[in-house]
Amino acid sequence: MTISGVALLAICTLLGSLLGDWLGMALGVKANVGGVGIAMLLLIGGRLWLARRGLLSDGIKLGVGFWGALYIPIVIAMAAQQNVVSALKSGPLVLVAAIGTLIVCFAAVALISRLGGVTETMDEIEAREIRALPPDR
C-alpha cells in the first residue's frame, strides 16, 4: 500500500523530530538537535529491516519515493519565501563565503586523492574491462 510508505516516512520524521528535541534538551540547547539526520537514519534502518523480511513492497517504495522526488520543488518553494531583500544588503559575504569554500574544498580533494597513492582512472578501468571480455563476443 502506498500509504504504508507515506506513513513510514511520517513516523520516521516525527520520531526524528521528537528525538532531536529530547537530544537538544539533554544537551541544554533550546533547539532541535539533528532531528532530520536522526529521521534519515531511522528510515534507512526501517528500509533494511523491511527488505530483510521481504516486506519492502512497491507501494511502500512509491509512498516514500514520491516525497523524495518532490525534494527539489519543495526546496524551490522554500527559496521563494526567504527574506532575500535583507540578505542582499550584505551581498559580498555570500560571494566571499562561497568562493572561499570552493577553493578550500577543491584543494582538499586534490590533497586527499593524491595522499592515497595512484589508482586506476576511469579510462584504465574501462580499457581493462574491454580486454577482459572474450574476443569473440
Partner: protein, 257 residues
Amino acid sequence: MSVMSTISHTLSANGLLTAFALVGAILWLSNLISRYLTFGRIHGSAIGILIGLALAFWAGLVTGGQKGLADVPVLAGIGLMGGAMLRDFAIVATAFEVDVVQARRAGLIGVVAIGLGTLLPFLVGVCTAFAFGYRDAVSLTTIGAGAITYIVGPVTGAALGASSAIMALSIATGVLKAILVMIGTPLVARAIGLNNPRSAMVFGGLMGTVSGVSGGLAATDRRLVPYGSLTATFHTGVGCLLAPSILYLAVRALTQS
C-alpha cells in the same frame, strides 16, 4: 473585475495547489533554460532555486514583507509547500535512496571526506561571517552551515531560531556554492586528479551539495557521477546532524569566552 476576483479567490482558496502549479512552471522553465541556454552545464534545479530567490526578492520589494512570495496573498500556499513540515518530510525521504552496501564500499576515505567536507566549509563560512561583523553564535553557525549545503543552512537556522535574513544569507551561500561547483568542476578536474572512482567519492564527500556534485561530475565525466553522488548523499544528513549540535556548541563556546 468579478472575473479577476473569482480567479484570485480560486487560487487563494486552494493555496497549496497554486503553489504546486507555480513551482512546476518554475522548474519547467528552469529545465528549458538549463538545456538550451547552458547546454546542461547548470542543473535545472539550481536555476529553479535561483528563480525562487529572485521571485522572493521581487515579492519582498513589492510587499515589503519578510516571507518573500508567501506574502503575496494569492501565493500564500508557497509558505506551506516550502515550510518546515514538508521540507523536513522530503529531505528525510531522500535517505531511502541510500544503498548501504554501496556506501560501505566508499569506506574510510569517504568518511574522512564527508567529515572534512562538513568542517572545512563550516569554518570558512563562520570566519567569513565573523569578518563581516556577525558575533552571535546562532548567526555564525547558520551562515557556516549554509556553506556546507543550502539544505543544512536553513535546517540549522530553523533549529536554532535564526532570523529570516540570516537564513536567506545562509541559503544564498549554499546555492552559490552549488552553482560554482557545477561550473568550476570541469575546469579544475584535471588539476585535482578527478579521473577515478576514489577521487570522485572524495569529491562528493567534500563538496557535498548533491545538485552541485552531480552537475559538476556530469559535466566532467558522466561515468564518475554515481561515485560522487554516493558520498554526497550522506553529506546533507551529516551536516544536519552536526551543524545544529556539536558545531553550534563549539561556536557558542568560542563566542562566549
